[in-house]
Subunit: 378 residues, 4 copies
């Protein structure tokens, strides 16, 4: 499927960092949704480069909807979002095009596209491509919010600095998500957030960059979403998250800590709470057998340090075919965790909506047939 | 796509643990492949329950190919693999069907399928469904092996016991993969392997179970595989790996350790080695920008402890609608890491072959057109 | 997608005429459908070879459901249907395998699969593959029937013999569909049917075969199904119908007669009938702009004469590489129109259900959102 | 898949007739293709409204490539084509929006999109959407041409006027296709073409419109393309052709005339011609068993008369809910056959390229494996 994701609602992403425009086509949105353009703008705002902790390339990221939107509502046909590239300084890249930037896609893309790749600023591999994803994600988010679902992401860890974690119960997470709405820097602990900002600024001064872990939570997600094979909720979300540049690991619930737990410790016992079936602990992050169980979804995404650093690095010059020293120019982020948080939120929204549509289609059919003589036990 | 994975070669999985048969349809295999049935049998053997460290339900897992195979070769039409369920003792499950097993899919499946799920032995959620995946994976593996690709997985960590890790260079990994071929228990360090076996046996005695981490490596994978969006190699592999029951996290290269690394530490500098472009370190696990770069692919899969333990657990009885105590009967694995290793190998093979076909299709076209006037620089 | 069709409910077809079994995996059926196995058997019966007007190879076509079906209901996981091949006389084919049968797939399959094709009895190209399609189609049909949809097909034309045509209004078609239920030979006019049977028998005596046109109607199909691009209802149905062996043309409503009509003649004026919007004529066969409009769907499928005739034919011998004379052995149908009618019905059911699910998924979502403030005008 | 077609190369269509722009995203094009923009312009020119036989809405149809194209070559990432709508007079539609236009999608779209559809000028259902299809098709055409494939379409029949038909041999068709290249009006017989033009002009004067049949041929298509189920070449091409507005029937080779032929007449005997296997006749239009056989592909597409006529018609007013008279305003085509020919060519190119990629992917793999020990017999 390459640049298209989704079966019920399909997203087709296009564009290059230094091309004319980037954008996304969203197909399958039901007609009649009054788009929340304020939400879209707020989400786009979260992704924007700000202050000294981000790149100095500031893009307006003006979202234009050029199809599928009529009289303030979705029309049911493909909705196309276009974002023009305005603040382009390609000359910064001209000089380094033949010098492979370490841990960037320069070399792997060069082999893949046999020299025809658009190398300016990362081309189609650029983090800029996450802008249309955030715009599209805000539509998925709006739909989910109207169904009660809430999603948020904070920086769990930036190098050695660790934020407070999301709670285990829906109530705790609800409070935390509300708190995060107004944060300009996404941490649950403000002091920790300030320390992280200082760390990023210090990194920038060192001509270095820094990585970390994002923690996300989604609550009020209906139980029963996801498919046993091959589209478990974990599969769907990981598929999306691993296409965000710089993501190198994704885990759910207790994640890699499961390695240290015995079954007797790791199992989430069932219990009743106000007549509803819940689990006493939530090691599984709201997902059993690949299917949501109604508990908060918890997931972790590790983001590597931005590969664009200003220190001299060892490289190979494709033109001369020889080893060479590289010093990167251009405008780059010393850390992208704070900007990536809303991208992760967007991907989670896109993934959950896909699973929800899948489940609803079957339910709609069965309801029409009214042949459900046994019915649900729960 | 639910139970179907893949675009070039498609795998459709079906069956339930206690039904008549499980199986898989593989569509898109080129005609004329002389199947290596010995390799298939060896792979199936690795997955089988053996000794005291596995369940006492021993299945013959006799693979029958009922279509798409003619005169010892693939015929080009869908190849269907059938594995009958023989050693079925469903009565063990009759008693517990209404008591939700913690950390199993019982509850989430019950909500999803509204009471109509086949609850016997996990039904379609059962680990038994990985048997046809291993059979199918062995075909993908055979094709990749003929192209020079090698894949192997060992137990990196079982609770507090840690095995030696895969090396950073192709040469090191090649030796390690060769070593693993003859191991009945998949560790690189034999002593560590023995300790792990003892730990599993001890767990079994405690009516408990244990989890851990698998590390996989793939070498001689051509550079240039994967797509920037949304089908990065990481996305494809994670999608497949997260549909293996019990997998809760997947990471590539340095994985979650990236959180602790500055860009200056994490970047993999480029260098020349015998005229070939390589990276000096391999934090990125052979993948840059979602695309393979020719270095060894390294990935980690965390497997939670088997949820079926024999200790009494808190649960809810769907029939009475009340909380109740559950003691699981039946035959279960105290650990599945050693059996899961070949399942992970199979998924990796399926994923890499998919990405390879994707890339080859385009190349085949361009070669026919012979319009590649610029050509590759590398 | 090759042997898999459908996005909401997916059908994966496998098997060869003289292999061990043929079958189909149906994925995406909602859980809880009490399968109407009588309907399935009746549909299978309609497809069976009977009397002198069909092949003498009589197959039991015993349908076995080996997964996805539990306690008399669909379980929500892939439902697999298996039909064993029992009455196989492959030796009839051994002699002719290298002699290309005119208008069969022998040559094109040989090129496609480079000599590795299963040539026995048409292999995967055999009309036998329509047996699992009818079984699967009966499930789609059952669902549609419960929603009120009715579908039927009769022989519109067999050589120079022409049956009565389906009426233009829902009421007329309803009566005709009811009439067709009990027919052993699918014509609306019994006398015409008898003449057709005689013609087929005469053909058989002449060692020849005969073709014709099937006309199908579907009523009570909800308006609004289909997509403008690329999944118009016509696209979906034609896609399915053209994969039935021997189909060489598909048309809707007035079909190829549209060439003779001016716009003023061909347009279907809108009118009100008991408060409902209808069209006064139905040249468009219930489809406007690729979307159903609530009027009866009318479609025509031309079926070429069975290529297996017993007269000597010119051919090429692949073994010698020379021209040669071919006299076909084996057991073949002098006409397949009467057996193909239920296959066409099955494909229509599969196609309409797919479009219905597509539409329902969106509606279900929008209903949940209850944001449909404008609402439908009609 | 809705507005996306294709698996190897994917086309995602978007836009509305009176929106800001229409366009298409093409994903999966191999990198390094030097686009033939002249061919694209020539194809676009063929589709344009010209003279008195077409609508008076003249659109510049300026094609802008905004991504996936770098330094004169495809870059391997999604290629996006944008065509702005410039000559928009939506006020013509304001008045009729609530009056259903007969045989248009007004009513079916209204039900489908529940009143939220963009009704201006047909919206997403407009024939304007075929402009990006022609642009995309010209790229597919260019690739096929470089591989030797030639495709052309002429007006076989316009009401009672019938053109000369395509010949049965590759040589005859080759000459005819060459002849058609320079025609401003697509007929094989110039006199017949003039008569058709007069007929269209006469229709326009009568405020009426006229339909007809297009015949297409494709030669030098490699044998072996297409899949038995469900993606026969006929299925793929029909799927695409039936999404062109106004197409109501598609047939291959002798098409609906097969109904009048006995097997002994309809079968295409095999023979050798200069050492190559050919068929003596070509009733099957170059396709056996859904797979190309190397003979010319012949297909027929019936195009209904344009539903927009200037005569008063019976209709229903959605606003009042009452029957009403409708007189269509705006600028419309009295016939679209001459403009549709290049759209049909484009769809055929898209479909054949898809099938070719499918086949090449498998071949590329098997060649790499060099395990093809039996090899092709032919």
């Amino acid at each position: 499927m390459k640049n298209t994701f989704g079966s019920n609602i399909q997203y087709t992403l296009f564009g290059e960092s230094h091309g004319e425009a980037i954008g996304i086509v969203i197909d399958g949105l039901p007609a009649g949704i009054a788009l929340d353009l304020d939400l879209m703008e707020r989400q786009m705002e979260k992704r924007k480069a700000k202050g000294k902790i981000s790149t100095q390339r500031k893009e307006a990221d003006q979202v234009k909807i050029i199809s599928g939107y009529f009289n303030g509502h979705t029309s049911g046909t493909p909705l196309t979002i276009l974002i023009e590239n305005t603040n382009v300084r390609s000359q910064d890249y001209a000089r380094t095009q033949m010098l492979l930037r370490p841990s960037h896609a320069d070399y792997s893309a060069h082999v893949k596209y046999r020299g025809f790749e658009d190398y300016r600023g990362g081309g189609h591999f650029s983090g800029r491509l996450t802008a249309p994803i955030v715009a599209a994600g805000s539509i998925a988010m709006q739909i989910l919010q109207q169904l009660g679902v809430q999603i948020a992401t904070h920086i769990e860890k930036l190098h050695d600095l660790e934020d407070v974690r999301f709670g285990q119960t829906i109530e705790e997470v609800e409070t935390q998500i509300a708190y995060l709405q107004d944060r300009s820097f996404p941490t649950l602990d403000e002091t920790c957030g300030k320390a992280m900002i200082e760390k990023i600024e210090a990194c920038a001064k060192q001509k270095d960059s820094v990585g970390g872990i994002l923690e996300s939570a989604a609550i009020h997600v209906p139980a029963g979403l996801g498919e046993p094979f091959f589209d478990s909720i974990e599969s769907i979300l990981a598929h999306l998250l691993f296409s965000i540049p710089a993501v190198k690991g994704v885990s759910f619930g207790s994640g890699f800590d499961f390695a240290n737990l015995y079954g007797s410790e790791a199992n989430d016992a069932f219990a009743l709470k106000e007549g509803k079936i819940v689990t006493k602990s939530n090691h599984n992050g709201g997902i059993n057998g690949g299917i949501t169980n109604g508990m908060p979804i918890h997931l972790h995404t590790v983001i590597k340090a931005t590969p664009s650093i200003y220190q001299e690095q060892d490289s190979v010059d494709l033109q001369s075919g020889k080893e060479a020293k590289l010093t990167i120019k251009g405008r780059h982020d010393p850390a992208i965790l704070h900007r990536a948080a809303v991208v992760v939120d967007s991907m989670i929204a896109i993934g959950l909506l896909e699973a929800l549509c899948q489940q609803e289609a079957g339910l709609a059919l069965i309801k029409q047939m009214s042949s459900n003589e046994r019915g649900m036990i729960v």
